[in-house]
């Protein structure tokens, strides 16, 4: 991906009024991916929707990182199961 298409994590923090440590800890937990270019951190635009959700969970609902990880995992499982149910329904 072209570097121009990436979003600087610093800009993201200014935009959403959040600490870089939050973005960094999301990356540390494997919830998002950060790309390093010339020692600056960037995120892929595709990650924005996910990051906004994590911001809402953390800052609005007071859910800590471990809670966010658990919710994320369970929502993914729920989505997989919904797809499975849909696939089975489509067979009948």
């Amino acid at each position: 991906m072209n570097q121009d298409e990436l979003i600087a994590a610093e800009d993201l923090c200014t935009h959403y009024h959040i600490e870089y440590s939050f973005i960094s800890s999301l990356h540390g937990s494997g919830l998002i991916h950060i790309t390093s270019v010339d020692s600056a951190a960037y995120v892929h635009p595709e990650e924005i929707g996910k990051i906004e959700k994590f911001i809402r969970l953390h800052y609005d609902l007071d859910i800590n990182l471990e809670g966010i990880e658990t919710i994320h995992y369970l929502l993914e499982r729920m989505e997989q199961l919904q797809h499975e149910v849909q696939r089975l329904k489509n067979r009948t």
Partner: protein
């Protein structure tokens, strides 16, 4: 328009403290927040209700007004005018500021997230109390598109009207029932310069054929008469791509399935690739025999 009991919405009594309201709201928000209940319209609706209740009860001025008029809210404006004329009214320009605690920023993208009752009593949509992190991406819109199976078989274009905007999309052949495609930037407008949300289209495939679809494969049952089953022959059947003539092998048993490679459903985003068609032969026995027919069957049975 009905009176809305905000205390009841949050499960509180009228003497609840600011802290009680905050706790009750957060507890319910953690249960009903749309991020935690994707595609759950009921949870979304309840979340809007608790959000509205919190909007009023967490703001001392709004709460005061709400408590004051209660179920007589329809007469609130008259009372206000009378009070102001007598010099005892509150400042009509202020009152709705303050931010005792964080306000959730989620918006449904509907015309209003607040009830008619709220707007009648407080005016506007309560948007003045959004948090300072206000440059948000717009809301994703959800839409359903019904397609007959025969149309889902071919790549084609369709024009949709979403929130008064015309959107022309290409629907690739092979789309599945329940499949969702995302059109970036066709959702709600961003808040304070944030990017627009996306449009999520869920396909609902209506099966208007005699085929059963499972992924890329199609299944069909075809009847053949007893004589063709025993002696062999030909049978012309419909596929989604037209009619084809099939050979029926002699001594074909009832329930025999034959696979027709590449005559199934289009494979999603793989141009020119198709699944298989499985045809199950159902042997139809005669329901009526002439005397001569009976005689011949009797002779056959004795061979």
């Amino acid at each position: 328009m009905d009176f809305v009991d905000y205390y009841k919405t949050l499960g509180l009594d009228k003497n609840a403290s600011a802290d009680d309201i905050k706790k009750a709201y957060r507890k319910l928000a953690r249960k009903l927040h749309p991020d935690l209940n994707p595609n759950d319209k009921e949870a979304h609706r309840k979340f809007q209700q608790i959000n509205e209740a919190n909007e009023v009860l967490s703001d001392p001025e709004k709460r005061k007004k709400y408590d004051q008029y209660g179920e007589n809210w329809k007469h609130a404006e008259q009372y206000e005018q009378a009070r102001q004329q007598s010099g005892r009214g509150h400042d009509p320009t202020g009152g709705f500021g303050g931010d005792p605690f964080q306000q959730y920023t989620y918006s449904s993208g509907d015309e209003s997230d607040f009830s008619d009752f709220f707007e009648s009593l407080f005016g506007g949509t309560g948007g003045g109390r959004r948090s300072s992190r206000a440059r948000y991406r717009g809301q994703d819109y959800q839409a359903e598109l019904h397609l007959p199976l025969t149309e889902a078989y071919r790549t084609h274009k369709q024009t949709l009207t979403v929130h008064s905007k015309q959107v022309r999309i290409t629907i690739p052949a092979g789309v599945e029932n329940g499949q969702v495609i995302r059109l970036r930037g066709y959702g709600g407008e961003g808040v304070n310069g944030g990017p627009a949300g996306d449009l999520l289209i869920t396909f609902v495939i209506d099966n208007n054929t005699s085929f059963r679809r499972d992924g890329n494969n199609l299944y069909k049952t075809e009847e053949i008469d007893l004589y063709t089953a025993v002696l062999g022959g030909e049978k012309t059947i419909d596929t989604l791509d037209g009619k084809i003539k099939l050979k029926v092998a002699p001594y074909t048993q009832n329930g025999t399935t034959v696979r027709l490679k590449g005559k199934g459903f289009a494979v999603y985003k793989k141009d020119g690739e198709y699944g298989d068609l499985y045809v199950t032969w159902q042997v139809k026995l005669p329901t009526h025999l002439t005397e001569r027919g009976k005689q011949l069957f009797t002779e056959l049975s004795k061979l």
